[in-house]
């Protein structure tokens, strides 16, 4: 066999129930076609037969993959978790969550492109990986510990290991539990912390002392040179922006910058280091970036309260996007709209009400009670906002109104509003299995330049902020383009956050497909030209679609958003787009847009299913055969 470059070479399979550890060659999964990350995870899930089980069923595989670029210099220090997601709503869908930090590179240096975890351990365990040595170890002493504490205990035994861990939220099966590395790096969306918890798996500690060969190191150095050049021009935008609570008043930002900022922080091998570390005595030290700051603008600008919200979420292992934005925001807006009263929040929902909920409790009281109730898994909050709303929607007088408000805040499949201010992004939301978070940024930020470069329709055409100027024709092309890029980025991997700016700071040389194709070729030694990697992105999107069709009975009827998006103008409640009013989307025109999208994708317009012709064109004949055998090939 020829020497392999770029890929570590093995996929680790662990059966926790039977305590069996197995290693298979990555080449079994055709990595040159599915790359790594989300692509490799989807391929592994497909080969496992796309089990139709619940998220907490032992047969639900937890799959963690890195890619051929992981561990190289640049924004590539990432991995992807895929599994059947307890956070998706109403149905639990197979979805993904990326994460950065130190773990992905370490896992690759240990020799693994992927880790597949199946079954449920009888008692709490953790997985110890030291290069070739893989052991399932007793975690009785770790169970119940918060995330930071558990890592510190593990590091006594394995000082140089990088650790993925869950907190009490994951152990207690909160559907908004994260998997965390260090203080800040989380596979946040999807609720995969609870999948780990359901397997009695507290942590994965990995130490890698191996090396992965690069085909053309000199070429890699040459290609990545512009990254350091760019970095030298000044403080990178995202690093500067997220260094302090970016939505808070200047005074709060200044306090963080002056008093609490310790240093910058980020993923392994990446010069951007877009996170930062702050320390407030009495609350603690932790990392922070975009979503962790969002407690601040609406509820409190007090630095200590802002910080406590973040640190407590990380320690308990709770998704900050949900725990400190989603649910509190729903409550605040409900009160504002007269849907809930302060009395109902206190007595029926059982939360103390601070000033912004009309009461006199402190934010500390509100936060600690809310987050601990999420973490102990015993209240409806632990189920995440959609299921919380469903529960109280039935119990409360104005329950129906509460559900309607939730549907405005949560765009589709149980995920909260995020940049749905244009048709491209809306169609992407409609056809994905979760919120396509960072891809949503791409529609507005980097895609416009790229669109011009590739002859796609200009962004302004399909914005839905000024409806008098909205053009529906052509939006399908942009969606398909961004989706294929998304798959590629999450497979190579390339940080979607960074590629917002870098892929396009020096077009066309640094355009995603041109730069990344050159880099992938230099790392792997394969001839991965622009056409091939664009095809890989399309292949991965189609395989993901096939999984939706096979496992989740996905049809075109499911490719939609919650009704309010077609009925009323919606105001963005949080984040950098706060106050932006968009929509409503014209339902009939959106359906026609879907027709054109399916046609462009080479899928059947009536069902939204991929066709044999398209699947075979992408080298997915086996997928077409399987779909035909279950009567789901048009």
């Amino acid at each position: 066999m020829a020497k392999s470059y770029g890929w570590a070479g093995k996929v680790l399979q662990v059966d926790l129930a039977n305590e069996i550890v197995n290693k298979v060659p990555t080449s079994d999964y055709r990595p040159e076609e599915f790359i790594g990350g989300v692509g490799l995870n989807a391929k592994i899930f497909w080969e496992l037969g796309c089990p139709k089980v619940n998220a907490f069923d032992p047969a639900n595989p937890l799959i963690i993959s890195v890619g051929p670029l992981t561990g190289t210099y640049g924004p590539f220090g990432r991995g992807e978790v895929c599994s059947i997601s307890p956070q998706c709503y109403p149905d639990e869908l197979f979805t993904y969550s990326g994460f950065g930090g130190m773990f992905p590179a370490e896992m690759k240096y240990a020799g693994y492109d992927g880790i597949v975890i199946l079954g449920k351990a009888e008692k709490p365990v953790y997985l110890s990986i030291h290069d070739e040595d893989v052991e399932i170890k007793n975690a009785n002493d770790l169970w119940g510990l918060e995330t930071f504490e558990a890592q510190k205990v593990l590091m006594n035994d394995e000082p140089e290991a990088s650790i993925l861990v869950i907190g009490p939220a994951g152990e207690n099966l909160s559907r908004i539990a994260v998997i965390l590395n260090e203080t800040k790096f989380a596979a946040g969306q999807g609720g995969f912390g609870a999948v780990m918890g359901s397997k009695n798996l507290k942590a994965i500690a990995v130490r890698g002392t191996g090396v992965v060969a690069v085909a053309k190191p000199d070429k890699v150095l040459e290609l990545t040179k512009p990254i350091i050049e760019e970095n030298k021009k000044g403080v990178p935008l995202l690093r500067a922006m997220f260094r302090t609570p970016y939505m808070a008043p200047q005074e709060t930002k200044d306090i963080f910058a002056r008093k609490y900022f310790k240093k910058h922080y980020g993923c392994y091998g990446c010069p951007l280091q877009c996170h930062s570390i702050h320390y407030i005595p009495g609350i603690g030290l932790s990392g922070v970036s975009c979503a962790n700051w969002l407690w601040s603008p609406k509820f409190s600008i007090d630095p200590k309260e802002v910080w406590e919200a973040n640190v407590l979420s990380q320690r308990l292992g709770i998704n900050t996007f949900e725990g400190i934005i989603g649910l509190p925001l729903l409550l605040a807006l409900s009160l504002e709209a007269g849907i809930l009263t302060r009395k109902e929040i206190e007595e029926d929902i059982g939360l103390p009400t601070p000033k912004w909920l009309g009461g006199t409790a402190t934010n500390h009281e509100f936060l600690t009670l809310l987050l601990h109730k999420i973490a102990n898994g015993e209240s409806p909050y632990a189920e995440g906002t959609p299921r919380f709303t469903e529960y109280f929607g039935k119990k409360l007088m104005s329950g129906e109104k509460l559900v309607n408000l939730y549907k405005e805040l949560y765009t589709a499949r149980g995920y909260a509003f995020h940049h749905v201010d244009n048709l491209g992004s809306a169609l992407h939301w409609a056809t994905d299995t979760r919120d396509p978070v960072d891809s949503c940024h791409e529609y507005k930020n980097s895609a416009p330049e790229a669109m011009e470069h590739f002859g796609l329709p200009p962004y302004d055409n399909y914005q839905i902020i000024d409806l008098s100027k909205t053009v529906y024709q052509g939006a399908e092309r942009v969606t398909a383009w961004v989706q294929d890029n998304q798959c590629l980025k999450n497979s190579l991997p390339v940080c979607e956050f960074w590629s917002l700016i870098t892929s396009f700071y020096n077009p066309p040389e640094m355009d995603l497909r041109i730069f990344e194709s050159r880099l992938l070729s230099a790392v792997t030694g394969l001839d991965m030209d622009v056409g091939k990697i664009a095809k890989a992105g399309e292949r991965i999107w189609n395989l993901r679609r096939a999984i939706m069709v096979k496992r989740e009975n996905r049809t075109r009827e499911n490719d939609t958003l919650n009704e309010p998006y077609f009925k009323k103008a919606i105001t963005c409640p949080a984040g950098s787009a706060t106050g932006l009013v968009n929509g409503p989307i014209d339902k009939a025109k959106f359906e026609a847009l879907k027709d054109r999208y399916y046609e462009l994708r080479g899928w059947d317009v009536n069902t939204g299913w991929p066709t044999r012709a398209k699947l075979e064109e992408l080298g997915l004949k086996d997928v077409a055969d399987e779909l035909a055998s279950i009567g789901k090939l048009p």
């Binding site: 130190m102 190191p217 350091i228 240093k263 091998g269």
Partner: protein
């Protein structure tokens, strides 16, 4: 008595270092053409819960025990006349490991490349235009090169 030429040295600032590992990545990519920390001469000791990271690298001793211990001194371990470093000549080194035992630091700043069976350590990227690659690529100037004249 042999006169040891003065050497430049790399200095690490733990207050600024983000622990990002860029120095390790660039080091092993430049010197060995691989990904991984095992063959990097620069080694970050991460402390994620205090955010104060350590750094292990050859200190370019003025009286280098490794050099004096080497049975093939001036062949396997030599002095570089320009930048001043002691360096290991891979073609001459037999991988005996005596230099590693002689290194006064814990952990030793010389390691063995098992595949090639040779010792390796930081040579300040001697001969590289632009100086040590880790210094050039460090995003926060946490690594500084102090030249032999400034030392």
């Amino acid at each position: 008595m042999l006169e040891v030429p003065k050497s430049g040295v790399l200095v690490h600032d733990p207050d600024v270092c983000a622990g990002c590992g860029v120095c390790e990545v660039m080091c092993s990519l430049y010197h060995e053409g691989v990904l991984g920390t095992a063959l990097a001469r620069s080694h970050i000791v991460r402390h994620p819960f205090t955010a104060k990271h350590g750094h292990n690298i050859c200190r370019q001793c003025s009286s280098p025990s490794c050099y004096f211990a080497c049975p093939l001194k001036d062949k396997a371990i030599c002095f570089d006349g320009t930048i001043g470093t002691t360096y290991i000549d891979e073609d001459e080194c037999t991988g005996c490991g005596i230099c590693i035992d002689a290194c006064p630091f814990d952990p030793p700043r010389i390691k063995i490349n098992a595949e090639k069976n040779v010792a390796f350590k930081c040579d300040l990227c001697k001969g590289r235009e632009g100086g040590p690659i880790c210094v050039e690529y460090c995003p926060f100037q946490a690594l500084k090169f102090v030249s032999k004249d400034e030392r």
